[in-house]
Symmetry: C2
Subunit: 496 residues, 2 copies
């Protein structure tokens, strides 16, 4: 029987199942491993299919930062002297997600995040009781706690007390994802999960609207597997699917670079849609403008091609990128005094547009901005910076320094000029998707016609989960979300 | 048999059809009437179902501006001395739609728009050979040609020669939609279309993936109608469906007012999805900031709560609204000199925030902006305005006037403070949806799994058609699109 990819098979079209199990999980990244483990620990027999030849997905590629807090603080936060109430974390997340946020998911997550950290540690993932308070992206030393969002910016401090919530496995350098996935894989094996690699789930098998199994391609053969309790989709987002990217993210496909594992092809989103699920937030994506470290670059003024500032420069790199993305032609320039002039660590190719002993001289050399515009921007900033204030954009006082003493330098951070160090040869900011299937916090996939798709669950970037926009993104919101809600989805599937 | 709304019925579930026809059209607005008429004229028997008790949809409520040109100009453009090549119109539309645009639809539309105007006239719709060149929204006198977009702004003039393309039925006051729909209804009746009102299409009937009929609710009874050639969905957008609006337009649902007919409930989008269609551009919506007329308000400076300008004030109302929507808290203020101080005609409730003989005095009274910010904005503008230039935002010279002579006034145009005159009692800018089913230019509904949904067609705001964003919207792009591509969809369905 030939069917096009990702269509639903009616049970009547399946002559016989090749085997059966309680729960089938589709995709072994952070979400899938967490779902499979919890389903197995709840007593279900579990098969975990992964299209690649090994576990990891995009979580495995990441630093495995998890955005955790609440309940007075995780053990790590508390040990290091940080108190973080659940309400404080909710307030932060609500501010982060804005109107796009899912208040139910946010509350459940904030209530359970500290316990989730215990679960992660119980897998054997090492965390060091040390905090890194610098303005960094990931610690290059071995601390396990850091700020990974906009917590210390004045606008977010209006909503919540700043607490570092980025929890990262302890290791020198950026290896957290591998550490976590190795631990998770071992736990899955120990719990009896049947992990099958090189296995691409092609169809969901549906009986009168209920998902009862899958058809999976192995060795170029389609096999039919029955799921007595449920199927969990955890196959990632769609940033590597160029058709879907053009369809849903036309606004960034010309200038951003997809970031994820090669199988972030939207398989699970399409499977879920075929079974009655619907997608939300498909137009939103993470973007990154790693203007820092070194942190001192934050003293600079980030301006658009009009010579105007458009964001507090102390914002998190995802928020910087969001506001950068809506500037004319995505043209961006960073103006720095000589003391703070440096090369951003995570940007490979970068032009120095101009230098000058005065702003006027630099401006003449740059030849970019409308006449007098940059000088006016700097004059306004300096006037208030002398009093440690930034009335227009509310940069925090610690990052305010008047640009009075030349020479000055101007870096070109325009999207068409920059390349992320971790993706050499590419162009523009890194991006991954934040839209997908709409789900209940339990992972049940909502049906476009009301209710849920029976027998179907999803978690991770195959869904629209906790993070909803680059504007409010904090690193760790995606891996935290994937693993936390992956566990819930696995438990829920096993409970049938 | 009970089925939930909008699910697909398999042919095997339909015991017998109550009647049959060649083509079924679902929804009698501009798109549906046009589709039904062309299908009937092509020799097909046609039933046109409309959920309301009369024809019109949102086209009927509109001014019935159609955005037409190309082919050297429509007859009306040429008579009035305007030349408009197809390439010129394409260039304009490509600039308008940006990365979101559909180049195939744009080309086909630009190539056929002048002939489409002849078709509209042939229905008996009156157009007066007179042009209204003022900066207006609709003519309150009886001219039939006007500028309805950003054609005369410098940024769009970089892409295309400015030509007025708004074609509106001649009538004193805003009655175009009624005139057009009455003419279209008569033509449908004359062509033998069987128009049935109070008839809500609930299900598509599908036979092995091909749409072969519908189930329609009439007098609270479900009737089954077979379509030998095809079903055309023309039931409008989803701006009146609060669930869908929150799902897809979370960013505007708190501050914008839905604008459309009460049955813009997304019925057709959901029907199409159930049959295998998919949606795109669901996050985009038209927004309106009718800061003018009177046109002289364009001399003012539109600033955000930082006291900074953010758009050329001579932009079209939809573009003004787009840029306004991304300002902090959607707070907007219009600074005017005494000569130009007036009340926007289309905004009902509006506060004068402050007045003053000098900017400083006005600023102190307003108490809104960061210290010195407004004065700096005005100083920069004035310095260049004296030479007739606006280097930052490129307002066209005819709208540039230094703000030198007090007294000055400041109007509050913030989204939470304004009410559209045509929707008294509401709050914020008017909005309607620009996302829907993805279709081929022929109206064939694309299947999410590749190819098309056989037997299914769609046009109008049930689809993502010609207009894709408020940023580039020109009035007449939606009714023009709905009627033009409605005709194509009807012809295509009839040709089976």
């Amino acid at each position: 029987m030939e069917r096009s990819e990702f269509s639903v098979l009616d049970l009547s079209q399946v002559s016989a199942f090749d085997c059966e199990t309680d729960v089938i999980v589709c995709g072994f990244g952070g979400a899938g491993g967490s779902a499979a483990l919890e389903a197995a620990r709840a007593g279900a027999s579990v098969i975990l299919f992964e299209r690649a030849s090994g576990a990891g997905g995009s979580t495995g590629m990441s630093s495995c930062e998890m955005y955790l807090g609440g309940s007075g603080g995780t053990a790590l936060q508390r040990t290091l002297g940080f108190e973080d109430s659940t309400e404080n974390m909710i307030n932060y997340l609500m501010k982060s997600c804005g109107e796009r946020g899912d208040p139910e998911k946010i509350r459940l997550y904030a209530e359970g995040a500290a316990a989730h950290f215990e679960w992660v540690k119980s897998l054997g993932v090492p965390y060091k009781e040390a905090v890194m308070l610098d303005r960094e992206v990931v610690p290059l030393t071995d601390e396990s706690l850091l700020f990974t969002g906009n917590e210390r910016t004045l606008e977010f401090m209006d909503a919540a007390k700043p607490v570092p919530r980025g929890h990262v496995p302890s290791h020198e350098g950026d290896f957290g994802g591998r550490i976590f996935i190795d631990a998770l894989t071992q736990a899955c094996v120990d719990a009896g999960v049947d992990v099958q690699y090189d296995s691409r789930v092609m169809h969901l098998v549906v009986d009168d609207g209920t998902v009862v199994g899958v058809a999976v391609k192995q060795d170029n053969q389609l096999k039919y597997i029955k799921a007595r309790k449920g199927v969990v989709l955890t196959s990632g987002g769609f940033i590597m699917n160029d058709d879907m990217r053009k369809r849903y993210l036309p606004w960034n496909h010309k200038w951003a670079t997809p970031y994820g594992n090669p199988f972030d092809m939207g398989d699970g989103i399409r499977l879920g849609q075929a079974a009655g699920g619907y997608t939300i937030n498909m137009d939103e994506a993470f973007l990154s403008l790693p203007m820092y470290p070194p942190a001192k670059l934050t003293y600079g003024l980030l301006v658009n091609e009009r010579g105007e500032r458009f964001v507090n420069e102390d914002a998190y790199l995802a928020r910087l990128a969001h506001f950068a993305s809506v500037q004319p032609n995505q043209k961006l320039y960073l103006l720095l005094g000589a003391d703070d002039f440096d090369h951003p660590m995570y940007i490979e190719r970068l032009d120095v547009v101009a230098t000058g002993d005065s702003i006027e001289e630099l401006n003449a050399e740059a030849g970019i901005f409308p006449e007098g515009a940059l000088a006016q921007t700097v004059a306004y900033f300096n006037e208030h910076a002398r009093q440690g204030r930034d009335p227009k954009f509310r940069k925090a006082p610690e990052w305010i320094k008047p640009l009075e003493q030349g020479p000055f330098g101007l870096l070109d951070l325009s999207f068409d000029r920059q390349t992320a160090v971790i993706m050499p040869g590419t162009k523009g900011p890194l991006t991954f998707t934040l839209g997908g299937l709409d789900t209940l916090p339990t992972g049940e996939v909502k049906h476009w016609n009301g209710g849920v798709v029976k027998g179907l669950y999803a978690a991770g970037r195959v869904t629209a989960g906790l993070p909803r926009s680059s504007e409010g993104y904090a690193s760790g919101m995606s891996v935290g979300d994937a693993t936390f809600f992956g566990r819930l989805a696995g438990k829920q599937a096993a409970s049938n």
